[in-house]
Symmetry: C2
Subunit: 422 residues, 2 copies
C-alpha cells in the first residue's frame, strides 16, 4: 500500500489559534483512495522548518502533502522552504500572475501588490489551479520520483486544489482502494450497536470501527478479503438496518437523506425551534437545493413569539411551562399551519447550563412531529453541555423526520434514541 | 519556559474520521499559561503505540498531555499503554467505580459492565474528576518528576478534566505567562489591518500575528518586554479601535459582546433569515442567557414564508426578486413588527453553489438593519462556498448590530466589511 505524510504548516495551528480540519479531510480522502497516512506533523511557518519537514517527510514516504503557508504575505514560507529543500531556484510564472490579476478583476477588487509573490514557484514545479482563491497549489516530483503536493490552507481552497492532486495520483500510481463498508447510523447509541454486532460471528479478517458523534454513529468495516467483508456486511446490516440512513459514502449526511426523501415524496417541511435556536433550520439549509422542500421556520425563543407567531396558548405556557409536551405540540402544529407545510417539527427544551430545575433539569427536551394525521411528542434527557444538548436535539428531530419519511408509522418504529413518546 | 508535548490518541483521528479540536484548544490554553507546546503527534489506539509515544514525549518535555483512548471499550488502550511504559501494575480504584455507577444511576440509565474498566489505573496515578462523563482523567508524576496528564477524548469532558490539570500545574510550577495582547476585530479584512499596522513603528521585540477566520480577525501581539508590548498596543489600538470588539480574552465572541450591549441598553432583537437559514439565530442562541435580549426569528426560506409571515410584498418579490434590497428591507421591518422588537436584521442572498446568475451571482447578499428610526440595507459580494457565504453573512449581520449598539449612527461608521449601503 502507498503511504503518505502530511505536513500542516502554520503557527496559527501550533498555537491552537485555528483547528486543523485539513488534516482529517486529507487523511480520509487518501485512505479511501488506497493511500495510508502514516505520519503527520504540525510545524511553524518558517522557511527552515518547512525545509526540514519536507526532508523528513520525503525520507519517510513516497507521497507528501503540505497544507498552508501559500498566502501572499512574507510570513507564508512554504514555497521558499520547499525550494530550499530541493536546492532549486524560484521562478516567476507569468500565467499565474495573470490568473491572480483576473481573480481580483472579476470581483471588482484592487489587487494588493503582495499577491504577486504567489506567482513564484520552485523550478520544475507545476501549478494546480485554485478556483476558490488566489494561491495556486503546487505539484512536483523529486529526482527520486517522490510526489510532493502543496495545498493552500483555507479548507475550501485546499479541497478545490486537492481534486487535481487526486487525478495526478490516480493516473501515475496503481492504487488499490481498501475493502471498506460504511454504515451511517442515527438514533442509536454506540454501546448498543457494539452489543448487537458483538453477538454476530464476524470473519476474523474483518475489523469493525465505530465513529460516534453528536450527529450519529458511523460504522466502518474493513477486511483483507472482499468476500469476508461482504459476508460481514450482510450479517450486520440484518441487525442494524432500521438505523442505517446511508451506506458507503461517508460524506452523505442525515440532512441530505431527509432532504432527498422529502423531495421524492413531494413533501414540504417547516420547523419551530426554541432551545435549538435555528440550528435545525440551519442544518437543513446546509444542503444546496433545500428550497425544494424546506419552507422555513420560526425561532420562537421568547414566549411572546411562541404565542404571537405560532399560536401557542399563553394559558398553556403558564400552566405547563414553555418546556412541556403541550407547548412542543402546539409549536409543531402552529408552524405547520402557518407555513402550510405537510409536516413539521417543534422543539422546546433546556439547553443549559442555567435554567434547569429539579423537575425540569438541563437536557430535558421535547420534540414534536406534526402532519395532517397526527401530532406526536417525544421527551428526551440529553447529556452534555449547551452545545451538545442543542446538537443532539437537532439530530433527534432529523431522526424523527427520517423515520417518518422512510418507515411511515412513527409509533411502530423501534426507537433507540433515548426518548419516549409522551 | 516550560514545554509540553501533546499526544492525540485514536484511529478515528489518524484516519480522518473526526477532527482533532482538542489539540488546538489545549495548545492555546497551555501557551497562555506560559507552557509552550513543542511536539504533537497523532497515534493509533494501540497499547504498544501509546507506550512508545509516552516514552518519546517524556523524553522530550517535562509535561505530557494525552487526549483520548480512555473509554470503556477494549479498544481504549491509553491506560494500558501508559501502565506498560511506566512498568507498573494496574490497580482497581473502588471510588471511581462508585462514581461511574452513580453517573448512570443519576440519569436513570443501566450501566454497561464494560464501564468498570475505567476504574483501573496505573499504580500511583491520581484520578481527575470528570463532571461530563464516566472516564476520569488521570494524573501522575514519573520517577524523574515529569508530569503526565491523561484527558478523555470527548471535547466537553476533556475541558472539564483539564481544569484540574491546570490547577496542578499552577501549584507545582513557577509559570510565567507570556506578554500577550489580543485584539479581536470584526468587519475588516486581514490585509487592511496588516497595511495599517505595518505603517506603525513597532518596537523590535514585538511580534504581530494575524488569525483570520470567517468570524473576524484576531490580532496577537507578543513581546519580551512588557513595556514595549504596552507601547505597541497603544499605538495599534489608536489605528484599529473602530473594529476591535474585545481585548485580551480570546474566547469572547462577537455574539456575546453584542448580547451584552443589547442587555445593557435594554434592547430586544429579532432576525429574519433567508440564505443563512437560521445560522444567525443559532449563533445568537449559542450564548447562554440570550433569552434576555433575543426574541426569536423567522427563517423565511420560501417566498411564501416571506410574504405570509413577514409581510413582504409579493409584488416586490416578483419585480425585484427575493434577493434584492427591497426584500431585505421588508424582511427586517416585518420581523421587527411581528416580534415587537427594538431592532432587527433581515438577510437574503445567494449562498450557492447553484442559483447564481450574471446579474445576481453566488455570494450576493443583502443585509438590512431596522429600528424605530430607520431601515438600512447593505449589499455584499462574498467570496467562497455555500458555508463560507452563509457564515460571512451571519458575521456581517452581527457586525452591523455591534456597530449600531456601540457607535450609534450606522451611516457615519467607517465600514470596511466589503459591503455598501444601497
Amino acid at each position: 500500500m502507498h503511504t503518505a505524510s502530511i505536513i500542516s504548516i502554520g503557527d496559527e495551528i501550533l498555537r491552537g489559534r485555528i483547528v486543523d480540519t485539513n488534516f482529517a479531510w486529507l487523511s480520509r480522502k487518501l485512505f479511501l483512495m488506497g493511500i495510508d497516512v502514516v505520519h503527520h506533523s504540525t510545524i511553524p511557518d518558517k522557511e527552515e522548518w518547512v525545509c526540514a519537514a519536507f526532508g523528513d517527510a520525503v525520507h519517510r514516504t513516497g507521497i507528501v502533502f503540505s497544507t498552508g503557508g501559500l498566502g501572499p504575505t512574507p510570513d507564508d514560507a512554504t514555497r521558499k522552504g520547499l525550494t530550499r529543500f530541493l536546492g532549486r531556484e524560484m521562478v516567476y510564472n507569468a500565467r499565474i500572475a495573470q490568473d491572480i490579476r483576473e481573480f481580483f478583476q472579476k470581483r471588482g477588487l484592487e489587487m494588493p501588490e503582495n499577491n504577486l509573490l504567489q506567482a513564484y514557484l520552485p523550478e520544475g514545479a507545476v501549478p494546480m489551479e485554485n478556483s476558490e482563491g488566489t494561491a495556486p497549489g503546487i505539484f512536483l516530483r523529486t529526482e527520486s520520483g517522490k510526489f510532493i503536493f502543496l495545498l493552500p490552507g483555507p479548507p475550501g481552497e485546499m479541497k478545490a486544489v486537492f481534486r487535481q492532486a487526486e487525478m495526478i495520483l490516480k493516473n501515475e500510481l496503481q492504487l488499490i482502494p481498501p475493502n471498506i463498508k460504511i454504515f451511517k447510523t442515527i438514533g442509536v447509541p454506540e454501546s448498543l450497536l457494539e452489543e448487537w454486532i458483538s453477538e454476530k460471528t464476524i470473519p476474523d479478517d474483518v475489523g469493525v470501527a465505530y465513529y460516534p458523534s453528536l450527529r450519529g454513529v458511523d460504522i466502518f468495516l474493513s477486511a483483507r478479503e472482499k468476500t469476508s467483508l461482504e459476508t460481514a456486511a450482510v450479517d450486520i446490516r440484518g441487525t442494524i438496518q432500521d438505523y442505517v440512513y446511508f451506506e458507503d459514502d461517508e460524506e452523505i449526511t442525515i440532512e441530505s437523506v431527509v432532504g432527498d426523501l422529502l423531495r421524492e415524496r413531494g413533501k414540504k417541511v417547516a420547523v419551530a425551534e426554541s432551545c435549538t435556536g435555528g440550528m435545525l433550520a440551519s442544518r437543513i439549509v446546509d444542503i444546496s437545493g433545500s428550497s425544494d422542500y424546506f419552507l422555513g421556520g420560526v425561532v420562537s425563543y421568547s414566549n411572546s413569539a411562541k404565542v404571537k407567531i405560532l399560536g401557542v396558548w399563553d394559558k398553556d405556557i403558564e400552566k405547563y411551562g414553555a418546556v412541556s409536551p403541550q407547548v412542543a405540540r402546539q409549536m409543531a402544529f402552529g408552524v405547520r399551519e402557518k407555513f402550510n407545510a405537510d409536516c413539521s417539527i417543534g422543539i422546546t427544551g433546556i439547553a443549559g447550563p442555567t435554567g434547569g430545575t429539579k423537575e425540569k433539569p438541563v437536557g430535558l427536551v421535547y420534540i414534536a412531529f406534526s402532519d395532517k394525521d397526527d401530532t406526536l411528542v417525544r421527551r428526551y434527557n440529553f447529556v452534555g453541555g449547551r452545545e451538545a444538548v442543542r446538537t443532539r436535539s437537532a439530530t433527534a428531530a432529523l431522526n424523527i423526520l427520517w423515520v417518518n419519511l422512510k418507515f411511515g408509522d412513527l409509533k411502530k418504529y423501534p426507537f433507540q434514541d433515548g426518548g419516549e413518546w409522551v
